[in-house]
Structure formats: structure tokens, C-alpha cells
């Protein structure tokens, strides 16, 4: 018997990671109480469509709730309430409404939030895309002919740009990098993506940052509370009805500040997703899952990294839940190394960019098949070894390379 009935696990964060952790606890035989606390008012829902199908209007916002396994029917969901603070000494969390929840085990699944502009700017017309409400509000502003300035050219910024073009908006993208999606994809593949965007009429302002966000001060619809233009650091002035802030995300870890856990950039964990205490020792009662976790992947090396892929909450929860259950029972976790194959996709202009592996650790990028301006497969190598692939189309080749990487990249 693992986990006496009297035990309680609190899961902080009710999104993909929190859901998969609750399911994982049941799958690992935990029969105690599971309480999932989430600050959003919704049951866990799927975020990727928020910048794609749902933003485009091809998928109803009401259709995004995740399927849940029957095993979590008895889980308690405390939605619309944030965890304000956690104490590992007394093993309790305090919610924003002041209520106190004692726990035996804690799952950190609080994910990320969008990093907002630090410039002074009117609120009206400014958007970010992380939550359902964000996407509903942005959708309402993406009218045909609307002038949209997207700040940030990562995957989400690029997807929003593509979706806005599809809705008949005029789109400018502003980003400090030299090419879109530069950090994950590298300069060559990023440049090819830039050509795709430009072929659809998007104007890219790269190597630039916004210097001033102006209010809508002139014209019949003048409104000091709405954005009117974005002025870049080289003086370029981009008229704007809508500004989308897509400059990346920050981990939601403030509520862990008093725990002494290493939360320098997300929650640092060992290979069992167990949070590390100030001495670098794993806690047996605290695990972290999903976007908020900084963990080592034995497929690549022992460097802990945060990975913002949709596949990661599920992979990490499947690892973390049995480790936590073992910890609560005073047992050791499964000794097998943790080596999930990362998987990421992005849909832009009807083309899917699919990746497997870890692009970030590569030192060399090679086109393995096709042509960067059409269908292609690019290989990402570290020291001559394939550690990642990116492709548009050519799914059979990508699947073959994925299988080859799984065989070749022995856990290390």
C-alpha cells in the first residue's frame, strides 16, 4: 500500500501539468486526498490553439477543456483561488483567500506568465496570449484591416502574426533578434521562416525594440486610453490598433519565495522532478512539473533546463508522480534515468513546423532533406551527433530520425 488514506497531496496549478500530475498520482497508486488549486476559473484547458485554431475562429473556445482520466473523478478542484505562499517547515500552503491547506506532498505546476512591456503605455488595445480570456480579448480586436504590431518573434509571436494575417489584419513584427525564432531554430532556418512571413505580407522589424508606445491621440477615434502607434528605437513609427506583447514568459514561483528552494529560473529539480533544497539535496515531498520545472534530461546531459513544450508537462508529471508517491512512503524512486524525447510543433500559414530533440544544445545545423523554402528536414548536431531535428512536412523522415535519435542518444 502506497500512501495511507490520511495523506494529502496539494497540486498548485490547474493546467496541463497539474492535471497530468493528479492522474499520475492515481496511476502510481496514491489513494489519499488530491487537491488541485488553480487561480484560473476553468478546468484545465489546452493552450496551443489560443494562438492558432481558436484565435482564428476555427475552433470554439468552449472546446478546449482537456479530456480527463476517470481516475481523477475524486480529485478536489479549488479553482479561482491562487496559492499565495507555501511553507515546507509546517507543510502547508496559504491560499489568496487566507485559507490554509496542510499537505504531505506538494506538486508545483504553476507554469509561466507573459513578460509584459515595461514601457509606459495605454491599456486599451494591448494584449498578451497565455489564457483563454487573453485569446478571447485579442480575437475581438483582430478585425479585418486592423493594424497589429506584434512585439516578439518567438513561436507565439509568429503564430499570432500568421493568424492575424489570416484574419485580414495588417501585421508588423518587432523583435530584438536577427531572425524570427532565432534561439530555438538558429539563423538559417529562422531566416527561411522570415521569408515565409514576408511572403504573406508581414513586415519584420528585426534587431529593434519598441522605444515608445503612443496613445491614439488624433483622428475621429482619438482615445488616450488606447494604443495608437509603436515607435521603435531607430525612430520608425508603426501605427497600431493592436499591440501584442510576446516577449517571452517568466515562471510563477513567487509563492515559493519563503521555502528556500532554488527558484532562480523556475524550480530546479533532480532527474526525478524533486525540488532541490538550499544545499542542493532533493526534497522527497516536493516535485515540480511542466513549464515551471528546470530539470536535467539524460538524453542530452545533466544540465537542468526549462522546456516550454506541450509534451513536457505530461512527460514530467509521469516521472514526478511516482517519485513523490515513493517519497511519501519513505521509498526510493525508480532508478531508471529520465530521458524523455522533447517534441514541439508550431502552425504558421497552414505549414507545420515540427521538432524533436533539443535544438538548443546543438552547435551545427544542416539541411538533411528538401529545401528551406518548401518542405524540409534540418538536423541539429552537437559534436557531430544528431540531437534534434526540425521539419516542415516530410513527416515520415522526421519520424524515422526521431526513432534513430532515441536509439542513438543513450541516457548519459
Amino acid at each position: 500500500m502506497t500512501g495511507a488514506p490520511a495523506q494529502r497531496v496539494v497540486v498548485a496549478g490547474a493546467s496541463l501539468g497539474g492535471l497530468r500530475a493528479a492522474e499520475g498520482l492515481r496511476a502510481a497508486g496514491f489513494t489519499g486526498e488530491v487537491v488541485v488549486v488553480g487561480d484560473e476559473p476553468h478546468m484545465p484547458y489546452n493552450r496551443p490553439p489560443l494562438s492558432k485554431e481558436a484565435l482564428a475562429g476555427d475552433l470554439a473556445f468552449s472546446a478546449l477543456e482537456f479530456r480527463r482520466r476517470k481516475s481523477v473523478d475524486d480529485v478536489t478542484w479549488r479553482l479561482g483561488s491562487a496559492v499565495a505562499e507555501a511553507s515546507l517547515g509546517t507543510r502547508e500552503v496559504v491560499l489568496a483567500d487566507g485559507s490554509v491547506l496542510p499537505f504531505d506532498g506538494l506538486v508545483v505546476a504553476t507554469g509561466l506568465r507573459v513578460r509584459r512591456l515595461t514601457l509606459p503605455a495605454p491599456e486599451g488595445g494591448r494584449h498578451a496570449v497565455r489564457t483563454l480570456e487573453d485569446a478571447v480579448a485579442l480575437r475581438a480586436d483582430l478585425r479585418p484591416g486592423a493594424r497589429v504590431v506584434v512585439i516578439g518573434a518567438g513561436f507565439i509571436g509568429c503564430e499570432v502574426a500568421a493568424t492575424a494575417v489570416g484574419l485580414g489584419c495588417e501585421v508588423d513584427v518587432v523583435a530584438p533578434e536577427d531572425v524570427p525564432m532565432q534561439r530555438p531554430l538558429g539563423p538559417e532556418v529562422g531566416a527561411a521562416m522570415q521569408r515565409r512571413h514576408e511572403a504573406h505580407g508581414v513586415r519584420m522589424h528585426l534587431g529593434r525594440l519598441p522605444a515608445v508606445v503612443e496613445a491614439r491621440s488624433t483622428g475621429a477615434d482619438a482615445d488616450p486610453g488606447r494604443v495608437g502607434a509603436v515607435v521603435l528605437d531607430d525612430g520608425t513609427r508603426l501605427p497600431a490598433d493592436v499591440v501584442v506583447e510576446a516577449l517571452g514568459c517568466v515562471p510563477n514561483t513567487e509563492w515559493l519565495a519563503a521555502t528556500g528552494l532554488d527558484i532562480a529560473d523556475g524550480v530546479r529539480t533532480d532527474g526525478w522532478m524533486r525540488a532541490l533544497d538550499p544545499e542542493g539535496r532533493p526534497r522527497t515531498d516536493v516535485v515540480a512539473v511542466g513549464d515551471v520545472a528546470r530539470f536535467p534530461n539524460a538524453l542530452f546531459d545533466d544540465v537542468p533546463r526549462r522546456v516550454e513544450h506541450w509534451s513536457i508537462p505530461t512527460d514530467t508529471a509521469k516521472r514526478a508522480a511516482p517519485a513523490l508517491v515513493a517519497g511519501l512512503a519513505g521509498a526510493d524512486p525508480d532508478p531508471a534515468p529520465f530521458a524523455p524525447m522533447p517534441s514541439f510543433w508550431s502552425d504558421q500559414y497552414g505549414a507545420r513546423i515540427q521538432s524533436f530533440g533539443s535544438l538548443g544544445v546543438a552547435d551545427t545545423v544542416r539541411v538533411l532533406e528538401g529545401d528551406l523554402d518548401g518542405e524540409f528536414v534540418a538536423g541539429y548536431e552537437r559534436g557531430g551527433e544528431l540531437v534534434g531535428v526540425v521539419g516542415v512536412g516530410l513527416m515520415p523522415s522526421l519520424m524515422k530520425l526521431r526513432a534513430e535519435m532515441i536509439t542513438a542518444l543513450q541516457p548519459r
Partner: protein, 62 residues
């Protein structure tokens, strides 16, 4: 065990194929083909396939 994939939602991600290759496959054109009826012994794998489907298009009807 009866399996239903909402083909309006399915976007041929193929993630289900890695999870339960005996039930889900991509054809030569990269389109999903799957068995609507699978043996009980496949249940865990099919549950996993439903978990990892980015479009949440897979449901299991007992």
C-alpha cells in the same frame, strides 16, 4: 474497447502513433488511420495516446 477520433479535430500530429503504434498509424500521405476497436490489453497505451494528442481528438468509449 471502442476508440473514436474526431477527424474534424485531428491534425495528423502523429503523437498517438508513438504511444500506441498497434492502434494508430500514419499512412504514406501522413494521414491518421486507426483501429476503432482494440483489445483490452491496449487500454493503457490508448489512454496514453489520448493524453498526448495535441488536439485532444481521441476518446475511449468503453
Amino acid at each position: 474497447m471502442k476508440i473514436v477520433v474526431d477527424m474534424d479535430l485531428c491534425a495528423d500530429h502523429g503523437q498517438c502513433v508513438y504511444a500506441a503504434p498497434d492502434v494508430f498509424q500514419l499512412d504514406d500521405n501522413g494521414k491518421l488511420v486507426y483501429k476503432a476497436e482494440a483489445d483490452e490489453s491496449q487500454r493503457d497505451l490508448v489512454e496514453e495516446a489520448a493524453d498526448v494528442c495535441p488536439m485532444q481528438a481521441i476518446s475511449i468509449e468503453d
